[in-house]
């Protein structure tokens, strides 16, 4: 404004003044002085550097990098210029150029704190964690009051899985700089991993309050909500972020994940594709796209996305490999999947996701060194993430059961279930009461009224029952029939019913036309899946809650109830960590009580539903005589017999439930009556079920609906 043109100034003086102006935030004066210097001496390093810093401060990263690159070409370039170039390249995602520049910087000046700090975070992003750690430890050694360095060190420690140490450094950063929003946000992410979602959410909120334009804080808040299955809440945080950063790649990715969890797959795909378009080289984004494609059964595309995700160095590649393994597992390529997980474990022996999936596939023998490796990870100084520790306990439970050590197996299973139970809020008494109300809401006279005629209501076949009772097996057998499409576990019915009102209360007042309308809504949801098939199987087990209403909505629909020995069913639930919440399954007593409530409700449905629409099959009978049972089920579905149903384990279909790895094998009888050797570990369950383990196996625990029952015993063979 009132500065004359600085013509009389020497270059040195002009640079001193330019820097002083910029320090005080007076960009115009500083820029004028820099231009003055560059006019006299084009390529003058200090002037270019300052121009770059200013461009960066005003958000022009590309221009800034351009200036800095030229500044760093000077023969007498200063180390700090290289360090600043390194940081700007990191921000641009140019990790290789960044690393070269940062290394040049600290080679020139080994005492430069900023250089080591920048190198530390570059190495961290490149996945070179041990090196990153030593850089950042050097930084806090040189300058213990450097808040940003403590936060960066926390990030590296966190990625190394050293969560408690990471926490110490985040807390230190916040002591040094109480309004440091990034550190609050980082702490939030860590607390979520440590199994403290409420504290994590509070930290994310604090971060947003301190800096409402900090995208990571919103993403971390959303991650907390996704972690506790509150996907709608997660979407709210992401939408709040997208309202001011509409093309934020991370936000689009998280929204795609939340939408995928909500089965809103088309929307999820749109977001994932937008994210990939904005950042095609970002591995995490490719991964998210792959997960959505996988959920849509577009397996080739999904695999391609996982392969692209595995390309760049960094963290996305591990995740991509695991996703690839899970996909192979779902396709039935057990060998390929196992090899993939072993590849990950060779590279990252602490990858819990790899161990967890590997354990599910692998049959452990006593003395397998991999059991000891997992034991070491849950020991005192092992992995610290709470969800990770829970998963490891389940994996170890499985491994020790394989290896024949029930004592150790149940020790781990009890631990894992207790930990998981602590993260869910479940009211057993309320659930039992609710299930009782459902039966009362559908007395025989209500169900036997004439129903409205709904065209095409014979399309769906509902396969339902307890989780782990054999619903996947039944679906697999039927879906091997050329006229049947197996759609898997669909949330559609529950969504249609939830939208209609409070269940079961609304069902007592709904009109015939209202019932038919619900039926049409459901059919609209599944018809696109059917293509040329005559039957679509919806095998959401929990649809057992709605069997009566299904019959009212869709009078021609078939309902196939799969039963299995109660203790075997519950034992199987107890040994699994479900991906969808099964909140009753993590405590033996609650599990037994839930089973009893389910059993009573099924007694009711059996009494009131017509036999041509409601069929019960027993898992044990299928295992004992698949031929008879398969024919019975196909006939019930109103279809002609097809021999493909007996070759179900060859069907090229995707299976996505916890039972996956058993269905891919020919039938094993070792899953029948499996619980007896473990009775002493199952006492709370047996008490709740009212079963005395001392008594011999009753001939028909489940109530006698099977004609093939007598064949069961002699056909049992060891695994």
């Amino acid at each position: 404004m009132n500065n004359p043109a600085p013509t009389g100034l020497s270059i040195d003086q002009a640079l001193i003044e330019a820097n002083a102006h910029w320090n005080a935030g007076q960009a115009d004066q500083a820029e004028r002085l820099c231009q003055h210097v560059l006019a006299i001496w084009p390529g003058q390093s200090d002037a270019l550097h300052l121009m770059g810093l200013m461009a960066h401060a005003y958000g022009n990263l590309d221009i800034a990098i351009d200036h800095l690159r030229r500044a760093c070409q000077a023969p007498r370039v200063q180390a700090i210029y290289l360090s600043n170039l390194a940081e700007m390249c990191r921000q641009k995602g140019l990790l290789e150029e960044a690393e070269v520049a940062a290394r040049r910087a600290v080679t020139m000046d080994a005492t430069m704190v900023a250089g080591w700090n920048n190198l530390g975070i570059i190495l961290q992003e490149a996945g070179k964690l041990e090196e990153s750690l030593s850089c950042l430890e050097r930084v806090v050694g040189l300058r213990p009051d450097y808040a940003e360095a403590h936060s960066n060190l926390g990030n590296t420690l966190k990625r190394l899985g050293r969560l408690q140490q990471a926490r110490v450094h985040y807390v230190r950063a916040l002591q040094l700089a109480p309004a440091y929003a990034e550190a609050m946000s980082n702490l939030s992410h860590l607390l979520n991993d440590l199994g403290e979602p409420d504290e994590a959410m509070a930290a994310a909120r604090r971060a947003i309050d301190t800096n409402p334009r900090l995208p990571d804080a919103y993403i971390n808040a959303a991650a907390v909500e996704i972690g506790r299955d509150r996907h709608i809440e997660a979407l709210r945080w992401i939408d709040a972020l997208l309202s001011f950063a509409p093309l934020h790649v991370g936000a689009l990715g998280v929204r795609a994940t939340a939408l995928r969890q909500l089965d809103r797959l088309d929307e999820a795909l749109a977001d994932a594709r937008r994210a990939v378009a904005a950042a095609p080289d970002d591995g995490e984004t490719q991964n998210i796209l792959g997960e959505v494609l996988q959920a849509q059964n577009k397996l080739t595309d999904a695999l391609a996305a996982f392969d692209r995700a595995a390309q760049p160095s960094g963290f996305a590649s591990e995740k991509a490999l695991i996703n690839r393994g899970i996909l192979l597992m779902e396709q039935g390529d057990r060998g390929g999947a196992e090899a993939t997980f072993e590849t990950v474990l060779a590279r990252s022996p602490r990858s819990v996701a790899a161990w967890f999936n590997f354990a599910d596939l692998h049959r452990f023998e006593p003395g397998d060194p991999r059991i000891s490796a997992m034991e070491a990870l849950v020991a005192q100084d092992g992995v610290e993430g709470q969800a990770d520790r829970t998963a490891l306990h389940f994996a170890l439970g499985k491994a020790w059961l394989d290896a024949g050590d029930a004592e150790r197996a149940f020790d781990h299973l009890d631990h894992g279930n207790r930990r998981k139970r602590a993260t869910v809020s479940y009211d057993a008494a309320r659930t039992e009461r609710w299930i009782g109300e459902i039966a009362a809401a559908f007395p025989a006279n209500r169900l036997q009224r004439p129903a409205a005629d709904t065209a095409g209501s014979d399309l769906p076949v509902f396969v339902l029952g307890m989780p782990r009772s054999g619903t996947t097996l039944v679906e697999q057998i039927l879906a091997s029939h050329p006229h049947v499409f197996g759609a898997g576990e669909l949330p559609a019915l529950q969504e249609v019913i939830n939208a209609a009102g409070l269940y079961p209360a609304f069902a007592t007042t709904v009109t015939l036309e209202g019932e038919a309308a619900l039926g049409r809504q459901y059919l609209d949801r599944i018809r696109p899946l059917a293509t040329h098939h005559r039957r679509v199987i919806d095998k959401m087990p929990s649809n057992f809650l709605f069997a009566g209403l299904i019959h009212r909505m869709l009078p021609e629909a078939r309902i196939l109830h799969v039963r299995r020995d109660p203790v075997d069913t519950c034992l199987s639930c107890y040994t699994k960590l479900f991906t969808r919440e099964q909140q009753f399954a993590y405590d033996l007593t609650e599990l037994g009580k839930f089973y009893r409530a389910y059993d009573r409700l099924m007694d009711h449905w059996r009494a009131v539903l017509p036999a041509d629409r409601f069929l019960e099959v027993r898992y044990e009978d299928i295992v004992g005589d698949i031929d008879t049972e398969a024919r019975r089920m196909v006939a019930f579905c109103g279809l002609d017999w097809n021999a493909a149903c007996l070759e179900f384990h060859r069907t090229e279909r995707i299976i996505r439930t916890a039972i996956l790895n058993q269905v891919r094998q020919p039938l094993h009888a070792d899953s029948v009556g499996r619980w007896r050797p473990y009775a002493q570990h199952l006492m709370p369950l047996l008490d709740a079920l009212g079963i005395d383990p001392a008594l011999p196996a009753p001939d028909d625990v489940a109530g006698g609906v099977s004609k093939a029952r007598t064949k069961r015993g002699p056909r049992l063979v060891a695994g």
Partner: protein
């Protein structure tokens, strides 16, 4: 088959013009049905908040604005709007916090000074140097200069005050800092900085801290005062400096400014009006309304030193909300301020005094745009003042009472 899609943008285009002319009640009547179910688009709630504000129903707007910030925490302009509401309600703690987003707005991001040192957070920093720099409005500078001395005491730092050229001389006489530098020049080296308007947040300023000491904190130049005393002495009666319009580029100028014509009812015997109006409307003083004795000082006012000296030598300033009001307040000189129905946050609500300036008296609109009522109130008060002056009484300023209809409610903040 599908229900018609509600067009939020078209609705906004319909409502905004109503709000800018103060038709809050009409706007509210159009908005309410859209959110009758308790839910509605964010933009519609934002319109409702503004419709309540322009009716002066600020307390009712507040929970809506807080809800909007809760839903869209990153929407900085919503936070800034909330800060104005909170400060207007005297809720300083959160108000100052949200006010810190003032440089995050679409039209302000480019003007934020990107000082390359950390911002002071209110802690003691003995041995270090703190740069305090003023921002845009002269009124803001006059109002918050008082905090420089307090910041020095709190920080125990060496304080460098950077200030605009036009107010530097007043700052120099004020003192309370270690060095003074003028904006645009290179300041001495410093370790931390703080914008003048960020001092309240950094220091946790509460209503109870006001007006603070010393009060007054500015003074006129003795030399200029002599000049102006001589210049004004020939004129008889009560000497009233006045102005009627603010800087036309101010975002709220249409709402705060008047014309000289509208002040005609102030004309009365025994009062000489001195126009200190600057800018495009200063010529109006040359053709004053009938019956009004107006002497235009505007051409002779070179800078704020002249304005300050005039304010020290007249009996009273009568003004719309503009920088000379703050100058008078900081000088401890009597000033009467004519305020619109929805005033700037610093005048708070429902009171005739100002906690910032003991010598300032507030005359508020009772209905949107009704300056006539305000001018009548001021004329009555001025008649009392003029009579007292004529009777040669050493007139005590009228004690400050809260508005009879609206008792003062100042919430004590922790």
């Amino acid at each position: 088959m599908t229900p018609p899609v509600f067009d939020v943008q078209a609705f906004e285009a319909e409502i905004r013009p109503l709000l800018t002319v103060g038709k809050g009640r009409e706007a509210e009547a159009l908005i309410r049905p859209l959110i009758a179910g308790g839910a509605g688009p964010v933009a519609v709630w934002a319109l409702l908040a503004q419709a309540l504000r322009v009716q002066g129903r600020v307390q009712e707007a507040r929970p809506i604005q807080e809800m909007l910030v809760g839903a869209l925490p990153g929407h900085v302009s919503t936070r800034f709007d909330l800060s104005e509401t909170l400060l207007l309600l005297g809720e300083f703690e959160r108000g100052w916090r949200e006010y810190s987003h003032r440089y995050g707005l679409a039209h302000t991001t480019r003007i934020e000074r990107k000082v390359q040192r950390p911002r002071w957070d209110g802690r003691a920093i003995p041995g270090r140097t703190l740069l305090i720099h003023d921002e845009q409005g002269y009124g803001d500078t006059f109002q918050f200069m008082r905090m420089v001395r307090w910041a020095k005491a709190r920080s125990q730092a060496t304080v460098v005050l950077e200030i605009n050229h036009e107010t530097a001389a007043l700052a120099e006489r004020m003192g309370g800092f270690d060095a003074l530098t003028v904006r645009g020049q290179i300041p001495p080296p410093f370790d931390l900085h703080c914008e003048m308007m960020s001092l309240p947040h950094a220091m946790g300023l509460t209503l109870e801290d006001l007006p603070g000491s010393p009060m007054p904190y500015l003074s006129g130049s003795p030399e200029r005062r002599t000049v102006w005393r001589d210049r004004l002495s020939p004129y008889p009666g009560l000497k009233v400096a006045f102005l009627w319009a603010g800087r036309p580029t101010h975002f709220n100028d249409a709402n705060r400014s008047m014309t000289l014509e509208q002040l005609q009812p102030l004309a009365q015997d025994g009062v000489t009006f001195f126009s200190i109006q600057k800018g495009p409307t200063e010529q109006q003083a040359l053709t004053p309304p009938p019956g009004m004795t107006v002497v235009s000082l505007s051409p002779q006012i070179a800078d704020f030193e002249d304005t300050a000296a005039i304010l020290c030598e007249v009996d009273l300033l009568i003004s719309i909300d503009s920088s000379p009001v703050h100058l008078a307040g900081a000088l401890g000189r009597p000033a009467w301020v004519l305020l619109p129905l929805l005033p700037d946050w610093r005048w708070l609500q429902h009171r005739t005094d100002s906690p910032w300036y003991p010598s300032v008296r507030l005359f508020r609109q009772r209905a949107w745009g009704r300056w006539d009522q305000v001018v009548d109130d001021v004329a009555s008060a001025l008649a009392v003042e003029a009579r007292a002056h004529r009777d040669g009484l050493q007139q005590e300023r009228a004690p400050i009472f809260p508005n009879a209809e609206q008792p003062v409610k100042v919430r004590r903040l922790g």
